[in-house]
Symmetry: C2
Subunit: 483 residues, 2 copies
């Protein structure tokens, strides 16, 4: 609960002073998450979870509209199953939690707490899929996964996190490729429309792709400290898992073929992305589409306000709720309006409405935007339309502001000297030609901490030489320091 | 996917012949769940998961309407934390999965995969709660839990299952008691209104109560084979966990006190309950409120039906969908209408609509109820109102039928001989006086397999002697053989 001593807001480290501490302060003081006794696990508190629920609804709607069904697969996976796909186990075995005992008995075979579910789902697809008529199979799962991380940070990297993982099987390579791209598009649309978070879509380099995939697509966002955040990935798995798990079907021409697969995932990490994209020194700024409270109403506490002002505040709330707006009426009497203003700013509520005796007299309500702090009087009769318009504007403006920032923080490097100098500071995205060699990519990472976030969707002709070595350039890469 | 050989429906064992095999057949053939490679875990397939999603929505709505917020607590709990409450660990330690290694390293302290979350939540409540102003704290969590079960059955008893667990903290014992009863009422309302499943509410006996509770309330339903199913439990935890985890608050009178707590849970087991309450020899019968498809439209495949009939079928679908009805249009051309009728009966779709050239001529649609198999022609112009009315009737009639069955299967036993004879057959609920002694309760269980499902909410005066021993009766107990 909130600190009662009033030193509430000032305890947030300024963003410009220490972005990382600012982030942790906001997570804690806005009551989004808390630490748990298991190292690296977090507790998602109601306000943070409500944001995730709104994200889930917005994504789930999109998944269902594109023909996907939800299902649920087991948490615990036999070691032998995970070991079937060589690249997959190599990628995940070092970071899984092992269950070795059930009740009083040691297990004959160790179980892993799922880090992802390609293996178990592959096994079931082999059982369920017989004919081309069973395809495409388009499933999604909302669940928790565990990856044993050494360095963790709430939402961004935690031992356990919540996510969705889509798993699909198709008749042809082309259909699987179309699906991988379709879901990348769904992620981009979700991030930009709901989270007001502009993203760059592209292909991952070989060394950054998913363990077991043919290729991986990603969307990459730029946080307020100009570091990149991988916001969602979509993998074309080819026939890798199909061959290992023997997922075959009788094709239209009666031949027996292996299916082509995709998988794609997006997690609670995006809650951290929202904080770091939009927040400021006063705390969180939430895009209206994922704000648990889109509007907070603060009554002015004058005289017998509970009889004079409160009924008006309740009427405002009821009208807005009836119009589908998510509203919080803060009618607590132990805090002053000023204290409440600061608290709801910290918590990022997009629109604040104030109502007091003078407003009632003038048949108006005072509004304040969280993002610009602009204030305006709204005639009482125009409440719903004006608030809805305001929410739409804020959603739009937050996106535009973030896009402007992202564009301002995107540069091109002509030489490796220039590249290194940029990476020394507050780099953002640096677009540079790359030879395509993984060793060169690794050297850049060692020398500058920058990784290739992604490559353009379509490989285009690139002239000149690699930003680091003398070899001919083969790709235009988006480099950044990343979370 | 469905067996392509056409022997689809006949493979279900008749309910009257072997209820248990009938249940497993329905689960498998209706594609509700499948077995997984981890013994005792199940895979919830899309059709089964869609039922669970509808249950979740109906419950979550009720939780939020009663002031509860969702949050998320970690899956993995340190052993020392679980061990703090003596009765709690004694109840759960024998059935937990142990994580002993993370990545490449053995853990210093073993972790349990949560079997329930009182311990971790108790620890966090101690941190979050300081003042009476922080109370009541009303949280709920939707998650997976693991309990190492020896004998399992899909939905009814599985090593991993999905559930919600509510955890609340209050200023006074009375408020906690009211909350425990309120949530029992929510469960009863949910079971009866949404699942059409009549339940008996009551208190658990001391030996059947939750490990760590002061007392446990439950709702108990009667399945089609006259065995009882515990459908939801609500626990008054008193100050047991508060004292162990030191959850204190400054009261209104400035004294420091321990909070009073409740917890309550309901799981995917209820999907099994729906199957066993309403199903018949042809398969599943779903109450409309939790049916993924409330209506299936089957076009009659005559001549060039795709040009003549299909557009009409699509129009029916669109009208119903626009009215908020969940509709499946089965336009596959590889199956006959008769095959489809049997398939959707098996899957329990409440209403089937058939449309063919003759119906179009007569401006009507043929309807068939799954529960009664009654057929009726619906004038095309009355489609939406008639279908909505039909769904309401089916929801109502399923409940009434189940209640009638439950009442018919509830008897009173005057002597232990009579009690034993009844328990030998197809007993249902047997109401009988009980002395209140746990040893006597245990002996009844050993001798007849019957357990006390619950006791009346209010202990009433009971005359006479215990059904088994000569001691004076203290309770009227509901006995049954149970899942």
């Amino acid at each position: 609960m909130a600190d009662k001593k009033g030193a509430f807001v000032t305890e947030i480290t300024p963003r410009s002073e220490d972005f990382s501490r600012w982030y942790l302060d906001v997570v804690r003081r806005a009551e989004l998450a808390d630490y748990s006794p298991v190292k690296g696990s977090m507790i998602i508190r109601p306000y943070g979870y409500a944001i995730w629920e709104l994200m889930q609804q917005a994504l789930d709607r999109r998944f269902k509209a594109t023909g996907h069904l939800n299902a649920y697969f087991p948490l615990l996976i036999p070691e032998s199953l995970l070991r079937k796909e060589a690249a997959h186990v190599e990628g995940f075995a070092p970071q899984v939690a092992w269950v070795t005992q059930g009740g009083d008995e040691p297990l004959e075979e160790r179980l892993v707490v799922r880090p992802t579910s390609e293996a178990i789902i592959g096994m079931m697809y082999a059982k369920w899929i017989q004919s081309w008529r069973d395809l495409p199979m388009l499933l999604n799962q909302w669940c928790n996964v565990v990856r044993w991380e050494k360095v963790t940070r709430p939402f961004l990297r935690t031992t356990e996190f919540l996510w969705q993982e889509g798993h699909t099987a198709h008749e042809t390579e082309r259909e699987a490729e179309e699906e991988a791209l379709r879901m990348l598009g769904v992620y981009k649309d979700f991030a930009e429309q709901e989270l007001a978070m502009p993203v760059i879509e592209g292909r991952k380099s070989e060394s950054e792709k998913f363990a077991g995939a043919v290729h991986t697509y990603s969307i990459e966002a730029l946080m307020g400290d100009a570091r990149a955040l991988q916001a969602g990935t979509s993998h074309h798995l080819g026939q890798n898992f199909a061959k290992v798990f023997d997922i075959t079907f009788q094709a239209r021409d009666k031949s027996v073929q292996h299916v082509w697969q995709t998988s794609w995932g997006l997690s609670t990490r995006l809650v951290g992305g929202v904080i770091m994209t939009h927040g400021d020194d006063s705390g969180l700024i939430l895009p209206p589409n994922v704000a648990p409270h889109q509007v907070v109403i603060v009554p002015i506490l004058r005289g017998n306000w509970q009889e004079t002002v409160l009924p008006h505040a309740e009427a405002l709330r009821d009208e807005l709720v009836a119009a589908g707006v998510r509203v919080k009426l803060d009618a607590r009497d132990e805090h002053s309006p000023g204290w409440k203003f600061a608290e709801w700013e910290l918590r990022g509520v997009p629109v604040r409405l104030e109502i007091g005796p003078k407003d009632i007299e003038k048949a108006q309500v005072m509004s304040a935007r969280r993002d610009t702090r602009d204030k305006a009087a709204i005639p009482r009769g125009e409440l719903v339309t004006r608030v809805q318009a305001l929410l739409g504007e804020i959603q739009h403006d937050l996106f535009e502001r973030a896009r402007q920032f992202r564009d301002d923080q995107t540069s091109h490097a002509a030489s490796y000297e220039e590249f290194k100098t940029t990476m020394d500071g507050r780099p953002g995205f640096v677009v540079a030609p790359w030879c395509g060699d993984a060793a060169c990519e690794a050297a850049i990472k060692t020398e500058t901490q920058a990784t290739i976030r992604n490559l353009p969707m379509q490989a285009a002709d690139v002239s000149g030489t690699c930003v680091r070595c003398d070899a001919p350039a083969r790709e235009q890469a988006y480099f950044a320091k990343a979370y």
